[in-house]
């Protein structure tokens, strides 16, 4: 799973969010390291929707503009959980090897 996808699913894991909310949340989660732009965000959302990991939730009009909310699906939650387990296992191995090599784990 690519990092933007992982971060988008992580942002939505806390609850349904609209596009701009996801962008700001991703920036917050990644400590400002990853800044999604609209083109990348909507291309990713389009793919995630096609894969059934994300779905549209509700819509509202704010300041005359459409705001659509997205939420993570059960399949998306499963994928994210599997990715977390994989990253955790890899991180544990890396940490233990760094420890064995005398590095900072």
């Amino acid at each position: 799973m690519q990092e933007p996808t992982f971060l988008i699913l992580t942002a939505l894991a806390a609850g349904a969010q609209h596009g701009y909310g996801i962008m700001t949340d991703v920036a917050r989660i990644s400590d400002g390291r990853v800044r999604l732009r609209a083109g990348t965000l909507y291309a990713a959302l389009d793919r995630l929707k096609a894969d059934g990991l994300v779905t549209s939730d509700k819509e509202e009009i704010v300041d005359g503009r459409l705001r659509r909310y997205y939420r993570i699906t059960d399949e998306g939650t499963g994928e994210l959980a599997a990715e977390v387990r994989r990253l955790r296992a890899n991180a544990a191995v890396a940490a233990s090897r760094l420890g064995l090599a005398g590095g900072a784990a």
Binding site: H18, G19, Y20, M23, R37, A38, G39, T40, L41, Y42, A43, D46, R47, A50, R65, L66, R67, R68
Partner: protein
């Protein structure tokens, strides 16, 4: 005091108007870039994307900096957003194109009818094998090996290959090897290239066997290579074919074809008889032309195969290249039985005679399978079933 308030109010209004003007200009530019997105995507997301872009731009505009620096920041952000929009449109359009290709199964054509699919899979093993045997026989390799064992002087390995020999000499072993390595697509393309090369070689006609398109030998190789290509490209491939034919069956077909191929051009040498085999064409077995023996053996094998439905289909497919071979037989028989070597054939070979019957047979097979599929679908509908009768969805019909 009042004039200062008025001044502030005017300045505020001026700033608001400037921001509003800038926002409108920006929105216009973003909308122009959104035109790059597919229509459906635009209909669903354009409004919210514009909202997100403007909200992000408004956030960037809150950064306190001197005007030239703020302008440079705004310009940088706008350029990055524009590039990102273009890249996003390219990603979405690329994904849509890929999905269309996948749905069309452009790279995984298979025949829908299971029995024809199985028959083609068997042919994907047999046809490359026959092509290899045809090449070996064409260049007298089995006869040369047999001659060296029996110390017969008549047959020698062809010393040099001409330009017209190259398609068969290179193509046949390559197709057989690629099919053996289960590289179905490459083997299919190789077989197609062999057929095209053989047609091109037929034009040059540098050796007697390849004198033009109207040669039965050229037509046999061209149609055998085309049949091999169709079988390799349209079936599950040699894996399935081997499972149906078994390794022993494949070895039997190969050995049988090799022996018959050897007899067809020099049976005497196989038996070690010092005969007229040096004339270069037409062997004898027990005083009769070898072709009669070959025709008899093939007839018995074909009759034996008629029991199984898949075998019947395999025979129908292999009949496509065998038709010009039959023309070759009657030419040889005319010479062997009724006249001196080189006597005119009963039916002289011509382009329509060599290529039209195989073409008609191929069309009949395709039309027959389509008709049978339609009838099966109609029957399934009559029974109230909505499922496709056989095979995976999206596969092409034979």
């Amino acid at each position: 005091m009042k004039s200062a308030e008025v001044r502030d109010s005017r300045a505020g209004r001026h700033v608001r108007l400037r921001l509003e003007h800038r926002r409108k200009r920006m929105e216009k530019r973003y909308r122009r870039l959104l035109a790059l997105y597919p229509k459906d995507h635009r209909r669903e997301h354009a409004e919210e994307m514009v909202g997100v872009l403007l909200a992000a731009a408004a956030d960037d505009a809150r950064v306190r900096a001197p005007e030239p620096v703020a302008w440079a920041l705004r310009f940088g952000q706008h350029t990055a957003d524009s590039a990102d929009l273009i890249a996003g449109a390219a990603r979405i359009r690329g994904r849509m194109a890929l999905n269309r290709i996948r749905r069309a199964r452009l790279f995984s054509w298979t025949v829908r009818d299971q029995r024809w699919s199985d028959a083609l899979a068997v042919v994907s093993v047999v046809a490359p094998l026959l092509l290899l045997v045809a090449a070996l026989a064409e260049f007298h390799i089995p006869q040369a090996v047999a001659s060296s064992i029996t110390r017969h002087p008549d047959w020698r390995l062809s010393a040099a290959l001409g330009l017209a020999d190259l398609p068969l000499a290179c193509g046949a072993p390559a197709v057989a090897l690629l099919a053996f390595l289960r590289l179905r697509w490459l083997a299919g393309i190789g077989a197609l290239a062999t057929a095209i090369g053989q047609v091109a070689a037929g034009v040059f006609g540098s050796i007697p066997t390849f004198n033009g398109y109207a040669s039965p030998a050229v037509a046999f190789i061209v149609l055998l290579a085309c049949t091999a290509a169709a079988a390799l490209l349209l079936s599950p491939g040699p894996d399935r074919g081997l499972a149906l034919l078994t390794r022993e069956g494949t070895a039997l077909v190969g050995a049988g074809a090799l022996i018959l191929g050897g007899f067809s051009v020099g049976g005497s040498a196989w038996l070690g008889y010092p005969s007229s085999a040096s004339s270069g064409f037409g062997g004898e077995v027990a005083g009769l032309p070898a072709d009669l023996l070959i025709a008899g053996v093939l007839g018995v094998v074909a009759l034996g195969c008629l029991r199984a439905p898949v075998s019947r289909r395999v025979l129908a497919l292999l009949a496509i290249p065998v038709i010009p071979y039959a023309v070759l037989w009657q030419e040889k028989l005319a010479s062997d039985l009724f006249g001196p070597p080189g006597a005119p054939a009963i039916i002289p070979s011509s382009l329509p005679l060599l290529y039209l019957p195989p073409l008609i047979l191929a069309c009949v097979i395709i039309a027959g399978t389509r008709l049978s599929r339609r009838r099966a679908t109609w029957r399934a509908r009559q029974m109230g079933s909505t499922t496709t009768p056989r095979g995976p969805r999206g596969a092409v019909s034979a």
